[in-house]
């Protein structure tokens, strides 16, 4: 009985064993459990990074650029308002550290083919490579025939008449300051009385005059007193007070700029140097931005180049800034801060151009997680009516937030000159001491165009 039972058990056991031998590997089934990831709502670092990733995916997946901009600036928190025209001491170092910009003095070297030959009565200016306006000494002992024409293949381009340009500039200046009888300037509004209208007249007539040479200008759009805004994150800090105390937050910045005049074009300006070039160092400042002084405010996060995304002229060409009365040279000299005069021009150039080029890049769909694939170039002229400073900015990277800046070797580059006077004084219907080089640099700026045009 026991042996019968044992045999039955043995048979049963054998059958049980045979059942467990796998016949063939079963097809791989879908995972039985969902992937184990961090929670979305917990108060933990992993949850925070998961929320950030979800936000990034939402922005990446946005259908239109307007939707992307809307999601990018949806969350409103206190942010530092950066003013391009500021009286803060050494503001340009601070602004360069906020925007990861390298400042290169002088003008960028340009290809020889981009310059038209210039002839002036009596003096001949050499066309071609000219890194700085001061390097071209007029009155060089060159016979007019020896002026190099940079486009010999296309036939000699017509000479740019310096006399004509000079008369255009002088006429604009004389009309605004001498011929037109205006009332006395309003208190502390000297800049609106004469230099403002002069700049508008000068740029509009010069742009019209040069439109035959530069087809990009012929398709351009001129804005008077437009608005340029940009919002970005850079660095990290710990929240000090409030219900969010102790959390690590990105440092937010916003630039709201009002250039006096701006020219927007439908095609992008060519790059000056390749995307990954390294031309210097970015200053590192250990202090908090509020030490500049910079103050925090919470309001709408705007990104705007001067017109909406639907505008075909979505790339920038040149901006013109007018310094207000508060920042005029006499005040700095009176307070014995002569070295800060140039700082004003530089900080205005860097901040305004960074905001403009970055906003242009965002209009094309790039943002800090999706960095630019081509550099964005724009130019600016900062003036107080008499002294002109020229800036050229190349945006190579938008990735300035704390996570994306870690492995980002790219830097933005800004070329800038010192401010030089256009004329000495206007009296009795004559402009004395007119400086041709400043005008020539302005003309070169306006003639800048992509190579294929």
């Amino acid at each position: 009985m026991a042996a019968l039972g044992a045999r039955r058990l043995l048979r049963a056991g054998r059958r049980w064993f045979s059942e467990t031998v796998p016949a063939a590997p079963s097809p791989p089934a879908s995972p039985l459990y969902p992937p184990v990831v961090a929670s979305v709502t917990a108060k933990s670092k992993a949850a925070k990074s998961r929320r950030l990733q979800r936000f990034n995916q939402r922005v990446h997946a946005a259908a239109t650029v307007e939707e992307k901009l809307r999601l990018y600036g949806k969350l409103q928190r206190p942010k530092y308002t950066v003013y391009p025209q500021t009286f803060a001491l050494n503001a340009d170092r601070w602004y360069r550290s906020f925007t990861k910009t390298v400042l290169v003095p002088g003008m960028p070297p340009r290809a020889a083919a981009a310059k038209p030959p210039v002839a002036a009565a009596g003096t001949t200016l050499e066309a071609g490579r000219a890194p700085e306006p001061g390097a071209e000494a007029p009155g060089a002992a060159q016979a007019p025939e020896a002026v190099k024409t940079p486009e010999p293949a296309t036939g000699a381009a017509p000479y740019l008449d310096m006399g004509e340009l000079r008369s255009v500039a002088c006429d604009a200046l004389l009309q605004e300051s001498f011929y037109q009888n205006k009332k006395r300037p309003f208190l502390y509004r000297d800049q609106d009385h004469t230099p403002g209208p002069f700049l508008t007249q000068l740029v509009s007539t010069l742009a019209a005059f040069l439109s035959s040479r530069n087809p990009l200008l012929a398709a351009s759009s001129l804005d008077l007193k437009p608005e340029v805004n940009y919002y970005w994150h850079h660095g990290e800090e710990v929240v000090l007070h409030g219900h969010r105390k102790g959390r690590v937050d990105p440092v937010r910045f916003q630039i709201d700029d009002n250039p006096h005049l701006q020219i927007r074009v439908p095609k992008q300006l060519p790059e000056v140097v390749p995307l990954e070039s390294d031309l210097g160092d970015v200053p590192v400042i250990d202090h908090k931005p509020s030490k500049l002084p910079l103050f925090k405010k919470q309001y709408e996060n705007k990104v705007f180049i001067g017109s909406k995304v639907a505008d075909p002229c979505c790339y920038g060409h040149t901006q013109f800034h007018l310094l207000p009365d508060k920042l005029k040279r006499e005040r700095f000299i009176r307070e014995r801060l002569e070295d800060q005069i140039e700082v004003v021009y530089r900080s205005n150039g860097i901040a305004s151009l960074f905001a403009w080029t970055a906003a242009q890049a965002m209009y094309q769909g790039f943002w800090s997680e999706a960095d630019v694939t081509r550099p964005f170039v724009s130019q600016a002229v900062v003036t107080d009516g008499k002294h002109f400073a020229f800036f050229c900015y190349q945006l190579n990277t938008l990735a300035l937030s704390a996570e994306t800046i870690k492995n980002n070797p790219r830097k933005n580059i800004c070329w800038g000159t010192d401010s030089k006077p256009l004329y000495d004084v206007v009296e009795d219907g004559n402009v004395k001491g007119f400086n041709d080089e400043v005008l020539l640099q302005l003309v070169r700026f306006l003639l800048n165009r992509p190579k294929e045009l």
């Binding site: 009888n181 019209a208 439109s211 608005e227 805004n229 705007k302 705007f304 017109s307 505008d311 219907g429």
Partner: protein, 313 residues
Amino acid sequence: LFPGVRQAQWLTKTKLVEGLPPAVQGIVDNPAHGLQELEERAKYAVSHARLWDTAEVAPRREQYCPVLFENLIHICRLMSGKYPSLTKRMLARNCRIAATWERESILLQVRGLSGILMNSMTPIPPVASKEEILATKEHVLETFYPIAPTIDLQEVNVYKELNDTGECFRDGYPYSHPHTLFFLESANVRTDRFRPEQLRAKMLMFAFGNALAKAKALHGNDPKVLEQPVVVQSIGTDGQLFQFMVFQLNTTDLVSNDGIKNLVWIDSDQNLYEKAQCVPEVKKRVVTKPAGISGFQPDTFKKFLALYLHGTV
């Protein structure tokens, strides 16, 4: 009260001709000027001013009217690549005009800010032929008996008769000939804006004032018939409706009601576009009106450009 242009005609001793003068119409119709290609750019200019210029949803009239004007002028100025003599023009903003004249023993004066003035180095050639000028002798000015023609005018004691070219450009100003006056009715509230009829009357008075001051500067203060008539153009708009006017001053003898009269050609109420929709109108989940500019009339822009080019082409 009643149409202001008729009153202005009496005050300035002017005969009205409907439509633009043949010289300007010739520029409009001439295909050599390439006005067709500019249609696209004009449409972009309108869209920029009305739709894209602001970070808000829709710009207000105070913003879009000047921006539209600037955009159109920018397109016109860029034509100087083709016609180099166009660079001999200069825009003057906020210029003041003051001119006085006598009209049947009533002393009249025009004063005030006359908007934006465009000056040129060369005067516009006379638009009407000599026969037309002589023919105005027979034209009888409308009177409004029993209403006095100076109704609705402000009576002011004038102690100094000012006769400058308004903005008081100093002597030696190279751009001495007034070419075109621009009036922008850009107030947001409708009651602050001039109605089209009043705007035309205002344009006529200011064009007359500028022409008179220029004539007096050229030929002296005596009232007489001008050998070289002075031509001043004028364009007025409220951002959508355009009024075009060409005024020719034939005589400064304004005391009497007979004799040669001045001439004005008016082309009124030209719409540049029908409607500018900033946000698409959606009724019951269906888009009825898409966003954009609808009913764009390129002819209005062509007339604008023709008036700009007049005198150099």
